[in-house]
């Protein structure tokens, strides 16, 4: 056995590739299919914005909606509770005991309107 014999033997092995079974090829291609990234296609069309989504955004999102709700609830509470302090203020402005029968809009013109 010489180096040359060994080289010939290596060459013989090189020329005889190991056979790949159909089963192995099928398994490898199955793996390839399973691992293949999904093709990057057209971007998904943007969904049309609905009315409520638009309104929600217009009110300033969650923060804006929370503020608005708080203000609305406070208003309703004021309406029902009628705090004493507020009654005092409204009574002084709007005295229900005073009956206004006539309102003289232009009292200075009476002299001109009298006959004679």
């Amino acid at each position: 056995m010489t180096n040359s014999d060994l080289d010939d033997l290596f060459a013989a092995v090189r020329q005889q590739p190991v056979a790949v079974s159909d089963d192995l090829m099928a398994r490898v291609l199955q793996d390839a299919q399973a691992e293949q990234p999904v093709a990057v296609g057209l971007a998904r069309p943007k969904r049309r914005q609905g009315f409520w989504t638009g309104l929600f955004a217009a009110l300033g999102g969650a923060g804006g909606l929370a503020g608005l709700s708080t203000a609305a609830i406070a208003g309703v509470w004021f309406g029902f509770a009628q705090p004493t302090a507020l009654t005092t203020v409204t009574d002084s402005i709007w005295q229900t005991e005073v009956a206004v029968e006539t309102v003289d809009i232009l009292p200075g013109f009476d002299d001109y309107l009298s006959e004679g």
């Binding site: 060994l6 005889q16 190991v18 291609l29 793996d31 390839a32 293949q36």
Partner: protein
């Protein structure tokens, strides 16, 4: 991609095509590299065909997984696959308690050529003897010898695959070849080598 054009497409381009969803690219890559990967794994694992198939499948699976992140121009696909197979085989060989001797049935199946029956038998005997002799080499020597003399890689490529220096590759292949010659010397007559050759 038309399949008749695929043979002209470089491996790296096929990987890009595969990563972009082209299934024909996977078929072309598999047909190009799987026989080589399978052969190398079988030679590394002493002809254990079932185990070599598992290694080959695992190596190709890793190729599919890395395809989207493949860095162009850094490594050849074949070199990268050899490295993966080398590592997978090293792990498996480490795990084996004892290595099985290679018999005729265990040697990798080879495709029949159009040779005469007698010549084929002699050559098959010699090839099986070579596989048996390869089995006696230490793992690293066997890897280097197979990569150099059977797979036909250059020393720098082997250095890249085995992650060692070129001088270490030269040393491993030289020592491996000497050991093979010595291991097969006693079977010269049996294998049909003439006296004095």
């Amino acid at each position: 991609m038309a399949f008749d054009q695929a043979s002209d497409v470089p491996d790296e381009a096929l990987l890009v095509l595969y990563a972009n969803g082209d299934s024909a690219a996977a078929r072309e890559l598999a047909s190009r590299h799987l026989p080589r990967v399978m052969g190398f794994a079988a030679r590394m694992l002493g002809g254990d065909r079932a185990e070599a198939e598992d290694v080959a499948q695992e190596a190709m699976l890793r190729l599919w997984r890395i395809a989207p992140e493949w860095r162009q121009g850094e490594a050849k696909v074949s070199t990268w696959l050899y490295r993966v197979v080398t590592n997978l085989c090293t792990d498996r060989l480490r795990g084996q308690k004892r290595r099985r001797a290679v018999g005729l049935d265990d040697a990798p199946d080879v495709e029949d050529g159009a040779r005469s029956v007698e010549a084929s038998l002699v050559e098959n005997d010699r090839i099986n003897a070579l596989h048996a002799a390869l089995e006696t080499l230490p793992d690293r020597q066997r890897q280097a010898v197979v990569l150099r003399h059977i797979e036909g890689l250059t020393n720098p490529e082997i250095a890249e695959v085995m992650e060692i220096g070129i001088e270490a590759v030269e040393s491993l292949t030289a020592r491996g070849k000497r050991s093979l010659t010595a291991a097969m010397a006693g079977r010269r007559a049996e294998l049909g080598y003439e006296e004095g050759s």
